[in-house]
């Protein structure tokens, strides 16, 4: 069963801007799907069309088989949306925000109150249920938008940059919550600028750029396309110049750490063998950039760090 099916979707705004140039992608039920792209790529427009906040120019969108042109109300009932920008009445109480939203989805007040306690507790907001939204911190407001999106227990949860601006501790607790939600059967579509987030959570990724899908595949397949990775090594004895390591490209950073470019076909053991022979002792090692980030930059900047890749 497909949770989402998009075919030849286009959007031209009144000012002539062509936000979507005929995109196609499908999300299977139960998937955790990342929709990535630089600012202005068309992610939020695509989500806006799925959730009927934006009118499409042409194309087809089906949510769990319900076409938004012919069966919009059934399609809407399947979706929970966590938008990029805050869209709550700041003067309402936390409890009212979620209970009212439940009412708009036809959930009776008693059930809504039970679910509100469940989701607000899980998102650590129950003790703030009587507070005005305006008195919550930024992270709390974001968690409240997730609780609000889940109150009608949607089959498809769409999150548009849900962790933007929240600290790492809250971000990780939100990741755990989203993982549990997905494991419980909810299909999730996530857009984020934290590519580490997408790599950690999602099993499928589509990359959109300038209104076109330029990559659409399983996360593991996409990551395998990386031809090289850059590692940063902290050394026990700082060097004054970059060493010459046969088969590896190296450079010395200002802070004395050593950067080594590793081809995808070469394993880390080979690097350590060469380092050992050169008498260089390594204290710690980390990726210079998140792996997905490297791939993403390669794709959207057209640097062709990956092989293949014009998926759809």
């Amino acid at each position: 069963m497909r949770a989402l099916s998009i075919q030849n979707l286009t959007k031209i705004y009144a000012n002539g801007a062509e936000a979507l140039k005929g995109i196609d992608f499908n999300v299977e039920a139960g998937d955790f799907y990342a929709l990535l792209g630089p600012n202005g790529a068309g992610k939020t427009t695509a989500i806006g069309i799925m959730t009927s906040l934006v009118n499409k120019t042409s194309g087809t969108v089906k949510i769990f088989g319900h076409d938004i042109d012919t069966d919009l109300e059934s399609a809407k009932a399947c979706i929970g949306l966590v938008p990029q920008e805050l869209n709550m009445n700041l003067f309402d109480s936390v409890l009212n925000v979620v209970v009212n939203q439940a009412g708009y989805y036809g959930i009776d007040r008693r059930t809504a109150l039970q679910r509100a306690e469940k989701y607000l507790s899980e998102l650590r907001l129950w003790d703030r249920k009587d507070d005005s939204v305006r008195n919550l911190s930024g992270g709390m407001k974001r968690r409240l938008m997730i609780a609000r999106a889940l109150i009608h227990e949607p089959k498809l949860l769409i999150l548009d940059e849900p962790t933007a601006g929240v600290d790492i501790e809250i971000r990780r607790s939100m990741w755990d919550f989203l993982r549990r939600t997905n494991e419980a059967g909810t299909t999730i579509i996530l857009t984020t600028h934290y590519l580490e987030e997408a790599e950690n959570l999602c099993r499928h990724v589509a990359i959109i750029d300038e209104g076109r899908i330029i990559e659409d595949a399983k996360m593991s397949t996409v990551l395998r396309k990386l031809q090289r990775e850059i590692f940063v090594l902290s050394l026990r004895d700082p060097l004054t110049e970059a060493p010459i390591l046969p088969g590896f490209e190296t450079s010395l950073r200002n802070d004395g750490e050593l950067e080594v470019v590793l081809d995808a076909k070469v394993d880390l053991n080979s690097l350590f063998d060469v380092l050992t022979r050169a008498g260089i002792s390594v204290v710690s090692l980390r990726n210079k950039a998140n792996r997905l980030e490297e791939l993403f930059m390669g794709l959207v900047e057209g640097k062709h760090q990956v092989s293949g890749g014009q998926g759809g």
């Binding site: 806006g48 934006v54 059934s74 949306l81 708009y104």
Partner: protein, 257 residues
């Protein structure tokens, strides 16, 4: 259309609107009560004593129905325009737009909220009026039905204003430059029989005249116009404005890109 979803959605909207009115009662209930008290003191009591009788009633009694109706329609209008535009401005209109609740329910829910506020304020103004004069309701059914219909018309007009408004200035332009003049010229303070014939005919183009007079007929039993015409005109306005609002929401005017 899922009737259960829309019925619960409607109840949720009405409950939310009533809570909003009650929560900010200093802004929603108190000002019209003070304004109308001043009208009764100045126009009804001080000036009214010098005016004498109008259509067989003392002036205070004559203007009371008009003032009640004026408070009902301005508050019905004001509630919907401020609530829906506030939801647009704060973007929480999206909570309703993404839901499976129909656009008709969104309109009816807001209009019902506006009517509820109109009735709350109208009830309060009636109590204030009874402190100044005696009112005997001649035709209760006409009184009640006309107040509901007139309130609905202006709640629907408030919705149209909110849909087109892009900034807070836009929600005060119509009340200031259209609603208030039409209300003052709609026979609240005088019988149009006092006007020259030409201006009597011009006044017949003012829909508020029909509402005020039908309401006055319900309470006092006197009217400048035909009650049948008043019902017809108000019904046409209700149907026309509802259809207009539905078309605007279906097209996403002022809401969707």
């Amino acid at each position: 259309m899922d009737i259960r979803v829309n019925w619960i959605g409607f109840k949720t909207l009405v409950r939310k609107e009533i809570l909003r009115v009650v929560r900010i009662w200093v802004q929603t209930i108190v000002p019209p009560a003070i304004t109308m008290t001043l009208y009764f003191i100045i126009f009804g009591n001080l000036i009214g004593r010098r005016i004498g009788m109008m259509d067989g009633f003392d002036y205070m009694q004559y203007i009371a129905p008009g003032l009640i109706m004026m408070s009902v329609i301005t508050n019905s209008y004001g509630n919907v325009v401020s609530s829906f535009f506030g939801a647009k401005f704060g973007k929480h209109v999206e909570e309703m737009i993404v839901s499976p609740m129909s656009n008709a329910t969104i309109i009816i829910g807001h209009v019902a909220g506006g009517v509820m506020r109109g009735l709350m304020v109208g009830g309060l103004v009636t109590i204030i009026a009874l402190g100044f004069t005696n009112l005997h309701v001649a035709h209760p059914l006409i009184t009640f039905s006309m107040v509901i219909l007139a309130s609905t018309v202006f709640a629907l007009l408030g919705f149209v204003n909110a849909v087109f408004a892009k900034k807070f200035d836009d929600i005060s332009i119509i009340p200031t430059f259209v609603l208030t003049p039409l209300t003052y010229l709609g026979g609240v303070f005088y019988s149009i029989s006092l006007l020259p014939e030409f201006w009597q005919k011009v006044s017949l183009g003012n829909p508020i005249l029909y509402m005020v007079n039908a309401f006055r007929y319900g309470i006092l039993g006197v009217s400048d116009i035909s009650i049948g015409w008043a019902y017809l005109i108000v019904a046409v306005f209700v149907a026309g404005l509802f259809a207009l609002n539905l078309m605007l929401l279906n097209r996403g005017v002022g809401i969707r890109e």
